[in-house]
């Protein structure tokens, strides 16, 4: 790929999805985009970039999606889910006792493992949540992963990665070699296409946001704005959970880390807008 084409592609990705494409990622571009070119009958990456330069919107979306990293698994890193169950949820049960409503946002839901893990966690707590309305919203920039998330169908490999066997048996049905999430869990989660770089006020307010393993792909300025805008979707006592390699420190003063709870952040009331 010519340096000019690479730069054009890097600028486009940064603008459209926030992805920072480092100069040494040529191999990644090839392995992700050659199949896109082939699928569209384009002869190589130069032809593909030529199409992008002509502002072919369908092609642009396909390229943006193909460049996202969608890896996910159930109860990823364990700790955030344990923190949610043992620390965040008890607080919500007390503070939301009048409205009896909890809204959770999985802001980079990928193929659905994160929002479904939350749905399972809430289903396991159903004794404490009787009469409560629990809404889980999963969003992602990629239409393709959302189609998979909505289907809720996982390979044996995916179904085993992080998912305790007792939960697999309880909340999945076997279909051939694959495992499908139970309808009652599926019904707890709504999926919507959403770009974190664009306005998301239409989603409404959330009590808790899981925004994990997506900010790592953005530059500092983009991380800051996204975090600030997430803060605006949260009430004064809202909470945020980030991925293991992510933080708010040095990026925004609208959140602050909760002491001794790795990955958990609370809104900084003094700074709330």
């Amino acid at each position: 790929m010519s340096p000019g084409d690479f730069q054009f592609l890097a600028d486009l990705l940064k603008l459209r999805s926030g992805l920072v494409l480092a100069a040494d990622k040529g191999y990644l571009v090839e392995s992700r985009l050659l199949p896109v070119a082939r699928q569209r009958g384009l002869d190589g990456l130069a032809a593909l970039v030529a199409g992008l330069r002509k502002r072919d919107e369908a092609l642009t979306r396909a390229v943006v999606e193909a460049m996202t990293t969608n890896e996910s698994f159930f109860f990823r890193d364990t700790t955030p889910f344990e923190t949610f169950r043992s620390y965040v949820l008890p607080q919500l049960l007390a503070s939301r006792a009048a409205a009896r409503r909890i809204r959770i946002w999985s802001a980079a839901a990928s193929t659905g493992q994160e929002p479904y893990s939350l749905a399972m966690l809430m289903a396991e707590e159903k004794a404490r949540l009787a009469g409560w309305r629990v809404e889980i919203v999963g969003t992602d920039i990629s239409a393709e992963v959302l189609t998979r998330a909505r289907a809720g169908l996982y390979t044996q490999f995916e179904a085993q990665r992080g998912l305790p066997i007792k939960l697999l048996v309880k909340y999945f049905q076997k279909e051939g070699d694959q495992w499908r999430i139970a309808p009652e869990l599926r019904a707890m989660v709504q999926f919507r296409e959403l770009n974190l770089l664009e306005d998301f006020s239409a989603l409404g307010r959330f009590d808790v946001v899981f925004c994990r393993n997506v900010l790592i792909y953005f530059d500092q300025a983009t991380k800051s704005t996204v975090l600030d805008r997430i803060a605006s979707r949260l009430p004064e006592d809202g909470m945020l959970l980030l991925g293991a390699a992510e933080t708010v420190l040095g990026l925004t003063d609208r959140f602050r880390p909760v002491k001794d709870r790795r990955g958990l952040y609370e809104t900084n009331r003094a700074k709330a807008a």
Binding site: F73, F75, T78, Q156, F157, Q160, R161, G162, L163, P164, I165, K166, L168, V169, K174, D177
Partner: protein
């Protein structure tokens, strides 16, 4: 350091499992079938048993039932690791006292995730 007994009639699988488990910091011993494994547990009760289902002499389920009924046999964490991947087998394993269940083929990521979920990592 937790010690782990790998029970499988395939020497190759035992070798693969040993490599993964040693990489995770376990001290590994091996048995080729359920009765060998019971004898081994009688000598020394491990913290973790990685257990195949279909084996000659004594299969994994029978081993598990006898282990759980034996003195101190309620202590080890038992993780099935088998090609049997239907609900009936999984339910039977859980009923017999299995803590986790891995459907072959497995890799180091799956083993690591499963051991994390039973609190061993």
């Amino acid at each position: 350091m937790t010690d782990c007994l790998v029970v499988d009639d395939s020497r190759v699988i035992r070798k693969v499992a040993r490599r993964i488990l040693e990489g995770l910091g376990f001290a590994v011993s091996e048995a080729g079938d359920g009765s060998e494994a019971l004898a081994e547990c009688g000598r020394h009760m491990p913290g973790l048993v990685l257990l195949d289902w279909n084996m000659p002499v004594m299969n994994g389920l029978e081993f598990l039932q006898q282990l759980r009924a034996s003195n101190g046999g309620d202590r080890p964490i038992v993780v099935f690791c088998t090609t049997e991947n239907d609900l009936d087998h999984i339910q039977a394993a859980l009923q017999a006292g299995a803590d986790e269940y891995i459907m072959k083929p497995f890799d180091s990521e799956i083993i690591e995730a499963k051991l994390q979920s039973v609190g061993l990592l």
